[in-house]
């Protein structure tokens, strides 16, 4: 840091770079959860899906040598997790929040069980695009070396924003999420829509996991996710079920997560672990500020059990 004379400016730069680097899994998990929750169901199991996706992507990338195949395999695994969740939740008296916690435990168990032998090998990484070629500063070059999945996530957020409003599928999803009865009256099968929405959400969450193991931090181990999948659920509430809001909120979370390491890199080590808690504290404060005991949250799908 010191020898290039960038000094204290390293902090905002590190936060900026960290925001982009750390936010990508949040973008995918929260977009997936938005699709699921817009259909009126909540999936807390995405934490398990994320970790299982990370393991699958890493294992497939090690075995085939192709990170792209790893991402595809993770998507399929995530979709299977979503289908299991969606199928179980369609039965009466089954609590979707509790099933989510159970699926989380199951997903973590399966990932740790099957991934035991992949802790040592090294997988090929996902490609990134160097946007900082014009600069002579290595820090800026590193900060602008952005993974392709970040751009895909950003494009996906725009696409989903458009699709929810302007497509038939988007309309069906919103009707099912707002009123099961209205959907039935329109001749839509709500259970099937929710099953597909949960599967789509699961496969997106698994891409977030693939990014963790194949790009940043770029290895597979049992501590790879510290609740990112669950924080994404809170992030969706904060973003009011709006895909573009999810993208911006994910950037904010990524920046909060990068605060501790950025300050540590310039020598501020006091309270390091408290900075580590920053994203969680931020989420909680946002939840408290935006919730109300008297009215349901603005923009919340009517059939969603989380906000009743």
């Amino acid at each position: 840091m010191e020898e290039t004379g960038i000094g204290i400016w390293g902090v905002p730069l590190a936060i900026f770079a960290g925001a982009i680097r750390v936010s990508t899994p949040f973008i995918f998990v929260s977009l997936g959860e938005t699709i699921t929750e817009r259909s009126g169901r909540i999936n807390l199991g995405l934490e398990g899906t994320l970790v299982f996706g990370a393991m699958t992507a890493y294992a497939v990338a090690v075995m085939t040598g192709s990170p792209t195949l790893g991402v595809v395999a993770a998507m399929m695994a995530g979709a299977i997790f979503g289908v299991i969740h969606g199928w179980i939740c369609k039965f009466p008296k089954v609590n979707d929040i509790a099933i989510g916690i159970a699926m989380m435990q199951f997903g973590l168990g399966m990932a740790f069980f099957l991934g035991k032998s992949f802790i040592q090998p090294v997988a090929p990484k996902l490609p990134s695009i160097a946007l900082g070629g014009w600069s002579s500063m290595p820090q800026l070059q590193a900060a602008l070396n952005i993974n392709v999945l970040f751009f895909i996530g950003a494009a996906l957020a725009l696409f989903l924003f458009w699709a929810f409003k302007n497509t038939r599928i988007g309309l069906i999803l919103r009707v099912v999420g707002d009123s099961t009865d209205a959907a039935r009256a329109m001749g839509i099968d709500p259970d099937r829509v929710r099953l597909l929405a949960t599967a789509a959400g699961g496969s997106l969450a698994a891409i977030g996991g693939a990014y963790l193991s194949l790009y940043y931090p770029g290895s597979w181990n049992e501590g790879i996710s510290s609740g990112q999948g669950l924080m994404a659920v809170a992030l969706v509430i904060f973003a009011r079920w709006n895909p573009i809001g999810c993208f911006l909120a994910a950037l904010l979370f990524g920046g909060a997560g990068a605060l501790g390491p950025a300050l540590q890199s310039v020598g501020v080590t006091q309270g390091y672990y408290l900075f580590y808690a920053a994203p969680y504290v931020l989420t909680l404060i946002i939840l408290i500020a935006t919730s109300s005991p008297t009215r349901s949250l603005a923009g919340a799908p009517g059939a969603l059990s989380l906000t009743k």
Binding site: L44, I84, I88, F91, P92, K93, V94, N95, I97, A98, I99, I101, A102, M103, Q105, F106, G107, L108, G109, M110, F112, F113, K116, S226, G227, L230, M231, V233, A234, I237, G271, Y272, Y273, L274, Y276, A277, Y280, V281, T283, L284, L287, I288, S291, S292, P293, T294, L306, T307
Partner: protein, 374 residues
């Protein structure tokens, strides 16, 4: 005319005493039969998984029995592991009576352990042993109670979803513990594994006489019994059950729903905090990162398995303690990863929640059926 020919006499005579028994049996049998069936289905699915990875489920279950309950040694091991689960399961079961899904018990365990260690540091060596332990337990219960009570408070007064907030609080708690253990409370002698200063041996919570099981088991069982009495035999428990069934109805009846929620979540959190104190005072001897060993998460499974009944938590926690105790043996003898137990727990958890859908579907468990036919 014979007596048997008169249906009025024979029906009024015999079943009058049998009817309540049958009704009672039918009602009580439902959760036991469905629960056992769910466990069997879960074990069958898990067997398929073990077969798929090329191992023998029969050997695995046999090892699980040997490691969990096969000898006096392993029974004691299982009981020791059940002790924290009893308390963390209560942290889920009590709020569940009010319709709240609290999953952040781990945070209360961790902070309870740190609070107990912080309380013990100035006292150990000067104050009497019993007083020190009581003060440690109180500190842990207060901190744990505040932590989970906060989730309940936010739920009622701010409308914040308690599942999410308790989980966020749990991650914050772990960060706080790391900060304390690495910072002000750190024992300079602990190098690789930062810890607080160790508790002197005479200040440790000892074993139950004649057993190799610490007193935490007795504390846990007592806590379950107290919780059962609170829920089943006090007006608070009754009010909580009404509020859990229908908040609107409870509010119309003038029940203090907010205070009930804050009180029950605080009580629940104080039990989880107590689990942290026991972990420090009976197992670890100091507060360190081992406090976040997942007791809070296994407690969720125990509570759901026991259908949030504090008395049913006792056998379920011992069963789960046994499964966890056998993990090491399975790892050594069969070469399976330690996550095997986690896969089994996840499978059981999913199947048991799925089987909720069968409650009330089978006529044989319906007390009305017995009323009508007899």
């Amino acid at each position: 005319m014979t007596i048997e020919a008169n249906p009025a006499i024979s029906i009024a005579g015999k079943p009058a005493s049998l009817r309540p028994v049958l009704e009672w049996t039918a009602r009580r049998a439902e959760p036991i039969v469905i629960g056992l069936a769910a466990i069997l289905i879960g074990l069958a699915l898990f067997s398929l998984f073990i077969l798929a990875v090329g191992k023998s489920p029969a050997t695995l279950f046999q090892l699980m029995y040997t490691g969990g309950f096969g000898s006096w040694f392993s029974v004691q091991n299982s009981l020791s592991r059940a002790a924290p689960l009893l308390l963390t399961a209560l942290c889920v079961a009590l709020p569940a009576r009010l319709g709240l899904v609290i999953i952040g018990g781990e945070g209360a365990v961790v902070l309870g352990g740190v609070a107990a260690a912080a309380m013990a540091l100035p006292l150990a060596g000067t104050a009497p042993v019993f007083l020190t332990l009581v003060l440690m337990a109180m500190a842990a219960m207060v901190v744990g109670g505040i932590w989970i009570g906060l989730a309940g408070f936010l739920r009622h007064y701010r409308g914040v979803n308690e599942t999410i907030s308790s989980l966020l609080l749990s991650y914050i708690a772990i960060a706080l513990m790391n900060q304390f253990v690495e910072g002000v409370l750190r024992d300079p002698a602990s190098l690789n594994k930062p810890s607080t200063r160790p508790l002197p041996a005479e200040y440790m919570l000892g074993n139950i006489p004649g057993m190799d099981v610490h007193w935490g088991l007795v504390i846990g069982i007592l806590a379950c019994m107290v919780s059962w009495i609170v829920i089943e035999a006090t007006s608070y428990g009754f009010a909580a059950r009404i509020a859990g069934g229908n908040v609107r109805a409870a509010q119309i009846q003038g029940l203090p729903v907010g205070k009930l929620i804050a009180g029950f979540t605080a009580l629940a959190g104080s039990f989880a905090g107590l689990a942290g104190m026991i972990e420090v005072a009976a197992v670890q001897g100091s507060a360190n990162a081992s406090l976040a060993a997942g007791y809070g998460y296994t407690g969720i499974l125990v509570a759901f398995l026991a259908r949030h009944n504090p008395l049913a938590i006792i056998p379920v926690a011992i069963l789960l303690g046994g499964i966890e105790a056998s993990g090491g043996l399975i790892q050594r003898r069969m070469g399976l990863p330690d996550a095997t137990v986690l896969v089994l727990q996840g499978t059981l958890f999913i199947v048991i929640l799925f089987c909720e859908t069968f409650y009330g579907r089978f006529k044989i468990f319906n007390p009305d059926l017995w009323k009508r036919s007899l």
